[in-house]
């Protein structure tokens, strides 16, 4: 095996991890704060891609990259207000059923309106072409995509760790009852976090539309892998999700590099299995009393 190619594959795997990161981060945030396992998260990702498909001819790619995530975030907040609020106190099984149903409603609505066939969506011409770094050739679009992802993830980190907003969200994750006793209502924070999390999924949808097929089931395709990332990373931990997403990309790239591509998806689940055996709370999962 060519050592250079091997290194290129590992690097590509790391970059591929960002694909999972945007989805998994939102999933983890919503679960950590509200205890809702959002099975509709993938459907919002698909919605983002379809909205990009609809709006790009009128607005162009770059405005869409800003507007669509905001639209999807708005939809996420409405969903939180109308649906999630009723289930925060209920048995988690109910919210699981709710979001599973919601995922099916969104996917079927897309299928009904647009048809099951993938929609043709091409990348903006300024971002086509390749970048040559010595012998390493990479897609210019993907570098842009990763830059956007890093910027957004950094912004979320700052929001959570350097602002008053973030302080309350983090406290709410650890102990919502004490927060309530101190006279702080979590409700607006729950809405905001749902908006941010679901908006991230919408952003991922826009970013992926130029390179993956835009079709109604695209959300279901990514959701399982995103859950694996959340489980590996551990609940309540920002860096856990980041590390897990990169690790998943890395393991996948490694398997393909050594010629075991058929096992590349299976290896991700094996990784989860091993992590759960050794660290049941995930790599960096914090001890959260109400989830124990």
């Amino acid at each position: 095996m060519n050592l250079f190619l091997f290194a290129a594959q590992l690097l590509n795997g790391l970059l591929d991890g960002f694909y999972y990161l945007l989805i998994a981060l939102g999933l983890s945030l919503i679960f950590s704060l509200g205890g809702i396992v959002n099975l509709a998260h993938g459907a919002f990702y698909a919605l983002g891609a379809y909205l990009a498909f609809l709006l790009t001819p009128y607005l162009g790619f770059f405005p869409v990259l800003v507007i669509v995530p905001l639209l999807v975030a708005g939809l996420g907040m409405v969903t939180e207000r109308l649906l999630f609020t009723r289930f925060y106190k209920a048995d988690p099984l109910y919210s699981l059923l709710l979001t599973f149903g919601l995922a099916m409603v969104i996917e079927q609505a897309l299928r009904w309106y647009f048809g099951a066939s993938p929609q043709a969506y091409s990348m903006p011409s300024v971002l086509t072409g390749q970048v040559f770094l010595g012998d390493f050739v990479y897609s210019r679009y993907r570098l842009f995509q990763i830059a956007v992802a890093i910027a957004v993830v950094a912004a979320v980190w700052v929001l959570l760790n350097r602002t008053a907003f973030g302080r309350i969200v983090r406290a709410g994750i650890q102990n919502p009852d004490i927060l309530g006793a101190m006279g702080i209502s979590l409700r607006p924070y729950l809405s905001a976090v749902a908006g941010i999390g679901i908006g991230l999924a919408g952003l991922a949808g826009v970013l992926m539309a130029p390179i993956y097929p835009v079709h109604p089931a695209m959300g279901a395709e990514i959701l399982t892998a995103a859950f694996v990332v959340v489980v590996i990373g551990g609940l309540g931990s920002f860096w856990g999700v980041v590390v897990a997403a990169l690790l998943v990309g890395l393991v996948k790239g490694f398997m393909i590099a050594i010629g075991q591509s058929a096992m590349s998806m299976a290896a991700i689940y094996l990784l989860m299995f091993v992590v759960l055996l050794l660290r049941p709370r995930g790599l960096m999962g914090e001890r959260i009393l109400r989830f124990e």
Partner: protein, 412 residues
């Protein structure tokens, strides 16, 4: 008084019921002929399944509007086959509960196998409209299974002939990307057998999980291997992912494939679609019947039919012709269909017939070639369709030379 009136009413009701009873018994022969339609409508083959359903609906609508089959209407019962296990359960339910005379459909080779087992046991014909695996025509063949979809070997021979004419086989290096399930494995075997007998080499060869959407790792390997040709044995939305990212990574080796659906080309879009691919039919096939079908389909659904639509539309008409000739009995239908003297108009330049040895519909196929973006007329005509393969002076049998699926014995 009241008592008697009630008694009278009860008796009337009873006699009425009795009078209706024989009607119910007779209804079997005047009532609709039920046909089951079973195909994947979700998952990575779902986009193709949607075309299958639209085409089957259109065929039934046309047949019924023209007076049905021997005066009886066709009623179509449609289900999503989902996966091999569900497909088998649903096929059983269609036969037992809905009493369908035949099952039409399927795209996944794995599901087609389980449906054929149910159909064979119940002695109801199953007409496969989208599964390509050679083993379904070889060691896994069934007496009650017929194939309107062409088999892998036919595509390999058609595409192989094209690549040979282009000088891309003899002494050249191929990189193969293969969908990791029954269809892909089967196609990979056929492709390797073709390379073996045509003196081509393999530069690289990867199995791709069916749920993989990202091809970047594979494309880096392809670039490193510097093949003369990149050949796809992928399926469904995978082909779209591959084409989009092949352009994204700027690879320039000629692309081709042995399995293809025009929907994948349309989904990839004009600037991403490239290469030459084999297909059973396209909306550009220039015969009167084909163009009438394209017009009817486009009028009804607002877009042209893709090749999966051809399969289900044609299967419905083949079934209609067979039922008109010999009725709905399963055994009689098999006898009629497998007789090579009985030919079918499949909207191509010559009629088709079923090969009695393995029930493959012997028909012409085509190759399509991507047009450069500047020459594309619209979002559908982003490729051109070749003349029928094989050439008019060659027998259809040349297409099934060197099939690799084993011997078919119909379980005998």
């Amino acid at each position: 008084m009241l008592h008697r009136r009630r008694l009278l009413a009860a008796t009337t009701a009873l006699t009425l019921g009795a009078a209706l009873l024989p009607l119910g018994a007779f209804a079997q022969d005047d009532g609709p002929i039920r046909i089951g339609h079973l195909t994947p409508r979700t998952g990575f083959l779902g986009p193709l399944g949607e075309y299958a359903v639209m085409a089957a609906d259109l065929a039934v609508e046309e047949i019924n509007a023209a007076g049905g089959v021997n005066g009886r209407m066709i009623e179509i019962i449609k289900e999503d086959s989902v996966n091999p296990q569900t497909a088998s359960t649903k096929a059983e339910r269609m036969i037992e509960r809905d009493e369908v005379v035949a099952i039409v459909g399927e795209i996944s080779s794995a599901s087609a196998l389980t449906i054929s087992q149910v159909a064979d046991r119940a002695q109801r014909p199953f007409i496969n409209t989208g599964a390509n695996s050679d083993t379904l025509r070889g060691s896994d063949c069934k007496r009650y299974m017929f194939h309107v979809e062409t088999q892998n070997a036919m595509y390999v021979n058609a595409e192989g002939q094209y690549l040979q004419n282009e000088g891309l086989v003899d002494g050249k290096n191929w990189y193969l990307l293969t969908a990791d399930y029954a269809f892909g494995h089967d196609l990979l075997n056929a492709a390797k057998a073709f390379l073996d007998r045509s003196n081509g080499n393999i530069a690289g060869d990867d199995l791709v999980p069916t749920d993989a959407t990202d091809f970047s790792s594979y494309l880096l390997k392809v670039r490193e291997a510097k093949p003369d040709v990149v050949v796809s044995n992928l399926a469904g939305t995978q082909i779209t992912s591959f084409l989009k990212q092949y352009t994204e990574f700027g690879l320039d080796a000629p692309v081709g494939g042995f399995g293809f659906d025009t929907a994948s080309a349309w989904a990839a879009g004009g600037e991403n679609f490239k290469g030459t691919w084999p297909t059973v039919w396209t909306h550009q096939v220039d015969t009167e019947r084909s163009q009438a079908f394209v017009k009817a389909f486009t009028d009804k659904y607002g877009k042209p039919p893709e090749n999966q639509a051809f399969g289900d539309y044609t299967a419905m008409y083949i079934l209609k012709q067979a039922i008109e000739a010999v009725g709905t009995d399963g055994e009689a239908l098999v006898g009629y269909l497998e007789n090579p003297e009985n030919t079918f108009d499949v909207m191509k330049s010559r009629p088709a017939y079923f090969n009695p040895k393995n029930h493959q519909l012997m028909q012409e196929v085509y190759t399509i070639t991507a047009l450069p973006p500047g020459e594309q007329q619209n979002q559908w005509d982003i490729f051109t369709t070749s003349a029928p393969v094989p050439a008019p002076d060659q027998p259809l049998e040349t297409l099934i030379e060197a099939a690799v699926g084993g011997e078919c014995s119909f379980g005998g």
